[in-house]
Every structure is written in structure tokens, then in C-alpha cells.
Symmetry: C2
Subunit: 323 residues, 2 copies
């Protein structure tokens, strides 16, 4: 396949977004959006750091890379509309595998009606996927992590720790219950866009998506908002078959596992019923797990024997620094 | 330096663009633009393929990567406003070198008043810089390569072949005239934004920036517009001291050298004086080098002894495929 047939194979013949004026095929893409706020982020994934071929097919690699970006839009209360993809591809990857990566993205793009409007594919030594996603939010309704206030209810969507559980099962084949469920949570996570958009009527909701584990994400909200957050350990939702894992795994995965791409939020108490209604309308599980307090931008874990600071176990020293 | 001090070192304390609502520090950046079209592109640079430390300091690597992206905006008739940077950085690069890369970008960003609004820094084995740039164009005035029409004048800004000449001098130290000029053209190219914006009143102008050599760029315009383009070899502008290079170099560099980041354009004959006035107002050299003809989407080179098809000497097989 030469470069032109490759471009044709990934270039969309039609675009779904009516605000797009020019897609792939010029020096840049062009769109027009006069009534909404525009939201944009970039996320980069390097083989061996962010994903492994041991646990993911090329299709999954592409799918999950785009899912992580779409999840950033959900965390902003935005609807994803466009994406641009830059791939560095080692020569030992076949063109079929490369196509599979794009197919993994296309499958999700189709579901969300988002258009591929630019990017490039470059040869190199290390598979690297960098995706820029662009979304639209209702004017003034982009959701910031800096808006949590004392007395807010802290909630989370879905169940936590499933992605790392899936990774564990894939890396340690054996007798596990609900394998396919965990595989899917690791390989093809579902961003919570529909739920986040359903919160549009709320005056205020602080949102983060859970890419680095709830301990980290709660700390980001606490720091940005200048508050403390207390999480009730017993209330953290996990999936039904989670008891099959060791006690340590059951404890650490939901707190630090990351990449579940669920949403962590904080809303005024009076709006909690609205959050529950939004959850119901979008068939999203939502659980109250804690509360916002005044204090020193710390996260606490409340357990039966008392409340202790919950430390972040985060990335350090350029493994990944997200701006 | 830990990740937070690093983020603080590259995070802007203030932003210049009034349309920005949220910069670095959340899951995504947010901006609002109700009166202009929005233009966006991504370009990726891999060490050893797109640049070499033999001819560039880290400062230049960052500077030129952003310049190439800004040049895409110029080629669209757009004003650059924001950029997002994703860097994969090998562990043998020092944090000081990494900072220098960002400083190279910041220097250009300051000049163009554009804001860094997102990105990430990831460790990996191969230095890779992927930049997403966002710009604004007057409504309906984004410049497409598909708009050239029979009878148009074909023009180019500046002089061609200087970047590869600079690369050559850096790789083959010796007696050369105007070394610093050529170094600068290779290491710190000047995108033609001011000139492109000054063309705003023109009804129609097809534009491409010269990243891959004029033979390629002319072919892109010819193909997208369904026309032929004839370039008069004698009219191709080169710098004064270009005669110091070999006959082959003098011939091939301006045609195929690439990365000069000048603009190649096609305008109706009647508008040529307007182009010349825009050039004068922005102190940009502009030269008529050919014309648009009906025909088979081919580029011809007109020389004293006749007119022959000019073949692209382009990238193939995923060295780089730009969408």
C-alpha cells in the first residue's frame, strides 16, 4: 500500500459534523462554531508505557487511545466532535496492523459521530499515538475541577478497579469469573459522555475523569478547588465479582488502579437528585462516595477505624506529565 | 525537577488570547470564538527523520517544530492562536535540554502572541514532538489548495532552497558565504503569517506552504484544483549567495529541498497587484514563477529548451503521511 491508498483507506468519504467546513486534505481542517464553547485536549500513548501488545490487539490500542481522549471531553461536560491522530509507527508493524489501529478508533468515532479531520503517520522506532480531540460544550457550561465547594456531595460513575483487573487477568491467565467483562473494561472502556452531557442544566459540577486512579483524581479536584475531600472507603463501588481478587487487590485497584475512565464529581447537595435523574436517563450507575470539606487540599479515606490522609500514587518524573 | 515544577516552568502565568476561557490545568482547554472560522492541524517530528541534533540545538528543535505548524496556519490564511504540545522524551535527554525545547517554542509563541493551552510529556526511547495548532480565519476566508483556476498567476514568497543549504553547510563545515543566514533559515524559519493575513481581502487565493519542496506543493495544488501548473525555472527565486553551491545543488534544492516554509500561491491575474501590495506592506519578497493551465493535474517545468513534466520527489511508504 502506498501513502495515497493508505490515506484513502482512513479518510472519511463523508463527514458527520455539520460545523465542519474542511476535513482531511489541506494544510489544516476548518470548522465554524458560533454558539458553543470549544474544548480541546491532547493525549499521547507510548507502547510499553501506556499499553502492551500482550493485553491489547492493535484494534484495542486505537480504540482505547481515542476512548481516553473522549473521556477528557466527558470530564469537561463536552460533546466530542473531531479528532486528529498522529502516529509514529515502527517498520516491524504491518500495514494491516496499522489499519487495525485506525479501525479501533473508527469504531468509537462512529458511535460518537465524531470526524477524523487531520493528523499524520510517521515512521519511527516506537509506536506512539497522539490524539487531539475537539469538543463542544454549552456556553459557560464547561466543567472545571476547580469548582468544588464545602458541603458538596462527591460521587463516582460505574465501578472502579475493573480496568486493572482486566489487565491482571490478561497477564495472569487462570480461573477467573466474568473474564470477558474485565477484558472489555481494560481494552475498550466506555467514556461517560452521555451522562456528563445530561448534567448540562446543573449550575455547577466539578468533574474529573478517572485516568490515574481515584486517589489522584480526587487530589486534583481538592487542589484546584482549595478544599479537602473525604472518601468513604466502604462506599467505593466495585463490580459484583470483585471479591474473587486478593484482599490487597480489592483494596488498591479501586483507589489507585486508574484507566477506568469513570467520572468523579462534586455537586451541591441540593443537586444530587438531579445527578441521580441524569444517571437514570442515561442508564449510568452513580454512587455517592464522600463529601467536600474545608481544609488543606487533602484527600482523606474514611474507614471504620477512622479517617486518614489518602496519598496519591501517581506518575513521577516524566513518565507522564499532563499539562 | 519533579513533574509539578516542570509544569510550572512551562505553564504560562498569563494568557494573551482573549478568546481563551481555560488554559492548562484541567482535563482540556476551553475557548470561545463566535465570529471567525477555526483552523486546526497537527504535525509530528521524530528525531533522526525530521531533524538531527547534528544541525539543531534543542532550542531550534522546539522552535522549528512550532514554526512548521504556524506555517500550516499561514497556508490556510489563518492567524495562529493556540498550541498543544505532546513530547515523547528519552531518558538520556536532560531536563535542561527539555526546557530548551520548550523555550524554542515559547520564543516563537511570544512573537505570534499564541498560547500553550495543553499537551503532555511522556518518557520513551525516541524524541518525538507532536504539535497541534489552532488558528482563526475570517469567515469563509480559509485558503484551500483546491481553488486554483486556469489563467491564475503562480507565485512564491521569499527564496527557495535555503533551508537545505543551511543543513548542507552545517553537515559539511567549510568555506561558505552567508553561513549565518543559511543556518537561520534551517534552524529558525519564519512562517509567512503576516503576508497570508494581508491577503484577506482577496476573493480567492490557493495557498500551500512549502514543507516538501515546490515540486510537491505545486502538484498538491494542481491535483486538488484539477489543473496543470507551469513553473518557469528561470523565475524561481534563490538567495544572492546561492551561486556558491554546485550546479546540481542550485538546481535541485529550490525544486525539491523543502522546509523553507515559504508560501506557494495561485491568484487571478487581476489580483496580482493586490498580492504585490500585500507583500510590500508586510515586507515580504514575492515572485511570479508561473501560471495555471487546464490539463491533467500535472506540474511542468519551463526551461529555455522547452517544457517538461516536473516529477514529485516525495515521501513514500510512511516515512511521513500527512492527512
Amino acid at each position: 500500500m502506498d501513502e495515497f491508498s493508505f490515506i484513502n483507506s482512513i479518510k472519511q468519504s463523508t463527514y458527520k459534523q455539520s460545523t465542519l467546513l474542511k476535513g482531511v486534505g489541506d494544510d489544516a481542517a476548518v470548522f465554524r462554531q458560533s454558539s458553543k464553547d470549544i474544548v480541546t485536549a491532547v493525549d499521547t500513548f507510548v507502547e510499553g508505557i501506556h499499553f502492551s501488545r500482550k493485553t491489547m490487539d492493535p484494534f484495542h490500542i486505537g480504540n482505547r487511545a481515542l476512548a481516553a481522549n473522549i473521556s477528557d471531553m466527558a470530564a469537561m461536560g463536552a460533546s466530542p466532535v473531531f479528532y486528529l491522530v498522529s502516529i509514529v509507527i515502527p517498520s516491524h508493524w504491518t500495514e494491516d496492523e496499522l489499519s487495525q489501529i485506525y479501525r479501533g478508533m473508527q469504531s468509537l468515532a462512529k458511535q460518537y459521530k465524531i470526524d477524523l479531520i487531520g493528523g499524520d503517520t510517521v515512521s519511527g522506532n516506537e509506536l506512539t499515538i497522539s490524539i487531539t480531540v475537539i469538543g463542544y460544550a454549552a456556553c459557560g457550561k464547561a466543567r472545571y475541577r476547580s469548582t468544588a465547594v464545602e458541603g458538596d456531595i462527591v460521587f463516582v460513575t460505574g465501578t472502579l478497579g475493573d480496568s486493572i483487573a482486566g489487565y491482571h487477568i490478561l497477564m495472569n491467565p487462570g480461573q477467573f469469573i466474568n473474564k470477558n467483562y474485565y477484558y472489555r473494561r481494560h481494552q475498550m472502556p466506555d467514556p461517560r459522555v452521555a451522562f456528563a452531557l445530561e448534567l448540562e442544566d446543573l449550575q455547577r459540577v466539578a468533574l474529573n475523569d478517572i485516568s490515574d486512579g481515584i486517589a489522584n483524581e480526587a487530589a486534583e479536584i481538592a487542589e484546584a478547588s482549595g478544599v479537602s475531600i473525604t472518601i468513604n472507603y466502604q462506599q467505593i463501588p466495585t463490580s459484583d465479582s470483585f471479591s474473587q481478587f486478593t484482599v490487597n487487590q480489592q483494596r488498591n485497584w479501586p483507589l489507585f488502579g486508574g484507566e477506568d475512565f469513570e467520572l468523579l464529581g462534586a455537586v451541591p447537595k441540593r443537586d444530587w437528585p438531579l445527578v441521580q435523574q441524569a444517571a437514570q436517563r442515561t442508564q449510568t450507575m452513580v454512587t455517592e462516595i464522600g463529601y467536600v470539606d474545608i481544609g488543606k487540599e487533602l484527600v482523606y479515606l474514611q474507614e471504620e477505624n477512622g479517617r486518614k490522609p489518602l496519598n496519591k500514587k501517581g506518575y513521577t518524573h516524566f513518565k507522564q506529565v499532563k499539562l
